[in-house]
């Protein structure tokens, strides 16, 4: 029954160190292809979209329209830099637009009127102080998000969804539901927003729109942080494998709180830029930008589940969202339909992303 094998023939044949089989090299090639698709794919989509629009409407390639696109894209891009960091750390921030509205509202109220807080008369604040207040409010709101998520052990999605409501509500309370400056404040108190703030949102340098420049600087900053700082590295670690990050000594709570605080800071900057562009702040401003920032991040190739991606991709993603919105405007698609289309694009992108990941490994 049992075959008799001479015992000593096979025993001493020392096996060689794990001979690599064929599949790893194939995997590497698939992985390279996948990365190329992610990066070049988004860029290609942007170029094709622009090419189409430049034929479909004569207005698309005019300098004034391009500047316009840059202004529109800037807000999404700034928010999306924060969002990218959050998503890289395997979180999600649904409250970015609400924080933008809140910080801009608080700062606009203080820059255009005098208010009494705890018996102290404050305002109207000069531009620099107004900006500092906005940034502080944004960071505080983001910090709170981080605190609730880490110390309160609430899922990121739920925590920021809840805080979205809280921040919008506070902004409504602060502004009384009116735009700032409103006709009321403007006529009675002669309160106008500082010129410098308007310049942030609507000005240009040598023909290039200031918001676009701000967005580029922020993308550069985000890129530097992610690539070259210990903070950036811990973001990738926490999002890539939380357990391994913990075992490597990464302070996960600190990293997450910092990430959300940074996202709040970005939201405040976006809120200021938007206020300057609209020449007024209001509690509900930027509505829908949270979804656009998530879309920009995912279109730009960041893994929706964390650990993989970059802000350079996100910039391209934001430009796609900007050009798409602008194109729909130029093609006279109604604003209502635009919302439908943008929503569908987000879903389409995530579906494509999932498919791409399934198809090309990981």
């Amino acid at each position: 029954m049992t075959e008799k094998i001479p015992l000593d023939t096979k025993i001493d044949s020392t096996p060689e160190l794990a001979a690599p089989s064929v599949s790893p090299s194939l995997q590497v090639r698939l992985e390279t292809l996948r990365r190329w698709l992610v990066q070049a794919g988004a860029l290609l989509a942007l170029l094709l979209l622009s090419l189409y629009l430049s034929f479909a409407t004569p207005h698309f390639l005019t300098p004034s329209n391009i500047a316009n696109v840059a202004r529109q894209t800037a807000v999404t891009a700034i928010l999306a830099v924060g969002q990218t960091m959050v998503i890289l750390s395997a979180g999600i921030d649904l409250s970015v637009a609400a924080i933008a509205g809140l910080s801009a509202s608080v700062s606009a109220v203080l820059m255009t009127s005098q208010v009494t807080v705890l018996g102290l008369a404050i305002g109207p604040l000069p531009f620099v102080w107004g900006v500092l207040v906005a940034l502080a409010v944004g960071m505080l709101a983001g910090f709170l998000n981080g605190l609730i998520i880490t110390k309160g052990r609430i899922p990121d999605f739920i925590a920021t969804l809840g805080m979205l409501g809280v921040y919008r509500g506070i902004a409504l309370l602060v502004t009384g539901g009116l735009p700032v400056p409103s006709h009321l404040t403007a006529t009675e108190l002669k309160g106008y927003l500082p010129e410098a703030l308007i310049w942030l949102g609507a000005g240009d340098i040598l023909g290039f729109p200031v918001p676009g420049l701000i967005a580029l600087i922020i993308v550069g900053l985000g890129w530097f942080i992610l690539r070259y700082t210990a903070f950036g590295r811990s973001i990738y670690a926490v999002g890539g494998n939380r357990e391994a990050a913990r075992i490597s000594g990464i302070n996960i709570h600190r990293t997450k709180i910092l990430v959300y605080t940074f996202s709040g800071l970005m939201a405040a900057i976006a809120g200021l830029v938007l206020t300057g562009r609209l020449n007024s702040a209001n509690a509900l401003m930027g509505e829908g930008e949270e979804l656009r920032s998530i879309a920009a991040t995912v279109i730009g190739g960041t893994n929706l589940f964390g650990g993989e991606g970059s802000v350079l991709g996100t910039l391209i993603g934001a430009m796609i969202m900007g050009v798409l919105g602008n194109g729909l405007n130029l093609l006279n698609v109604s604003a209502f339909w635009q919302r439908v289309i943008q929503g569908l694009v987000i879903i389409l992108v995530v579906v494509l992303d999932q498919w791409r990941r399934r198809r090309f490994g990981s």
Partner: protein, 498 residues
């Protein structure tokens, strides 16, 4: 007598690849009525994979399977349902019970007896469950929630479940890794009884000592290849060891005696509620302290506690004789402790490449705004790639694509870079191939020669006996004994652990 026995199962040239591993390389296997066929091989040899292909829970890449159903017939496509219908009963190595259900529900999962109204007959469920547990000689409340049982009790429940289906071919995949000596003896009795009844039994083990106790024939697998099949009476333990390991023992386990240095780590009365009780020991510079225990005896918790992952511990930990509370991994790293976790996936950031994975243990200690030098990081990585022979030496590819052994080396490199003084290795050779194991041992040896103190947890007695200077045996969360090198054999370890 052998001529009367009929072939029950024939597996021919079974081939299976996983990404990066040739798990089974054209393996032949057969089984007769009324015999116990031991499948022997190290962790990662492919034993479980072969059996999962037999039970239909994994598809095969190629090869043929024949099973006797009155007469031998080829089974082209195996599925778990099909396997069950053919009388194949399988006790999986990883427990496959539903932790939230009761013991009785688990035993009859998918075939709960019904009364004539079509309702579940709970009386019979519990009665029959009780009976099948009793044949195993265990007394368990059949209403108990399975997840609340000890690992050993769960394993026995799982065995009871499979026995209750009255299989003609019974596969036991490392059933004794959590069992005590008496439980093991009782299981062996049951196996002998089933063998008398003509059941064919495949018994998987990586414990050599068990082979002559229970087996009629033994098949040795190594790195996915079949080394051979022999009647157990015709091979000695030494021959089996060599076949399992595939090289001379001195090559597999390079070990140089090292002068003990100062006490690096002293643990006094360490307790983790419900897991560890009053653990005290010390580790000297240059020493390898082995830790052995049955599955679930507290080894894993010990590793975690030493690395600050069980912040609720009580007791004292001294580092170089200084009292040092360790409440998180950051703190552990700061005082020079490193951990190679039990699950390799918990050690690495899969999407990052080798350099950031190596420096992560240091980067985590920096303040967030600190700027990293990617250039220096690459040089560091190159140094360790060379020193530990990490293959392939590509700097910008995610570590996800490295083989298990090379991933393990990356985790080791992280602690080497961090000037770690005390290294806790929790089953570092699990699921890596024999060659890579030898390399891990040789790295361990050179680390201890550099004066690093090593806590080496393993489920492989062989490894511990060969590499450790002392072996600490855990039993249900307590220290059962501490042996000196050379004073013990596998039987002593098992007896002490159970």
């Amino acid at each position: 007598m052998k001529q009367e026995r009929r072939l029950l199962l024939l597996m021919e040239k079974i081939d299976k690849r996983f990404p990066g591993v040739h798990a089974l390389d054209h393996v032949d296997f057969d089984l007769y009525e009324g015999e116990v066929h031991v499948l022997l091989g190290e962790n990662g040899a492919g034993k479980s994979t072969l059996m999962k292909i037999l039970s239909g829970s994994l598809p095969r890449d190629s090869g043929r399977i024949f099973i006797r159903n009155h007469e031998m017939q080829e089974i082209a496509h195996m599925s778990p349902e099909h396997a069950q219908a053919l009388g194949i009963g399988m006790v999986y190595q990883e427990l496959s019970l539903v932790p939230t259900l009761s013991v009785a529900e688990n035993i009859f999962l998918g075939r709960l007896p019904r009364n004539r109204f079509g309702l579940i007959d709970w009386k019979r469920v519990h009665g029959d469950a009780k009976a099948s547990l009793n044949t195993l000689g265990i007394d368990l409340d059949t209403h108990a929630i399975t997840g609340s049982l000890s690992v050993a009790e769960q394993q026995l429940t799982e065995i009871a479940r499979v026995l209750a289906s009255q299989p003609r071919i019974l596969v036991l995949d490392e059933p004794t890794s959590a069992l005590s000596d008496t439980e093991r003896t009782r299981l062996f009795e049951i196996i002998r009884r089933l063998r008398e009844k003509g059941v064919g039994i495949i018994y998987i083990s990586h414990r050599l000592a068990e082979v002559p106790l229970i087996g009629d024939r033994v098949t040795v697998l190594r790195d996915g290849q079949k080394i051979g099949t022999f009647p157990t009476s015709e091979v000695t333990e030494d021959q089996l060891i060599q076949m399992v390991v595939g090289r001379k023992l001195t090559e597999q386990y390079p070990k140089h005696g090292v002068e003990k240095g100062e006490v690096l780590l002293r643990v006094e009365n360490l307790s983790v509620p419900g897991k560890l009780e009053n653990i005290s020991f010390e580790v000297y510079a240059g020493e390898i302290l082995g830790v052995f225990g049955l599955m679930g005896a507290g080894q894993n918790e010990l590793a975690r506690a030493l690395f600050g992952l069980e912040p609720a511990y009580t007791g004292r930990i001294y580092i170089r004789e200084r009292l040092t509370p360790i409440r998180n991994s950051e703190g552990a790293i700061r005082v020079g402790i490193g951990l190679i976790p039990r699950d390799r996936r918990e050690g690495l950031i899969p999407m990052l490449s080798i350099p950031p994975n190596i420096t992560l243990g240091q980067v985590s200690q920096y303040s967030p705004h600190r700027v990293l030098s990617l250039q220096k990081e690459k040089q560091v990585a190159q140094r360790y790639i060379k020193e530990l022979r990490i293959q392939p030496p590509i700097l910008d590819r995610p570590v996800l694509y490295l083989s298990g052994g090379n991933q393990q080396k990356v985790v080791l490199a992280r602690w080497l870079y961090g000037d770690t003084q005390i290294l806790v290795l929790d089953d570092p050779t699990r699921g890596i191939d024999v060659g890579a194991k030898a390399e891990v041992f040789s790295i361990m040896d050179s680390l201890s020669r550099r004066g690093i103190g090593i806590v080496f947890i393993s489920s492989e007695m062989q490894e511990l006996l060969a590499m450790a200077d002392r072996i600490l045996v855990l039993r249900r969360g307590r220290i059962a004994s501490i042996f000196q090198r050379g004073e013990v054999d596998q039987e002593d370890l098992l007896r002490s652990a159970s």
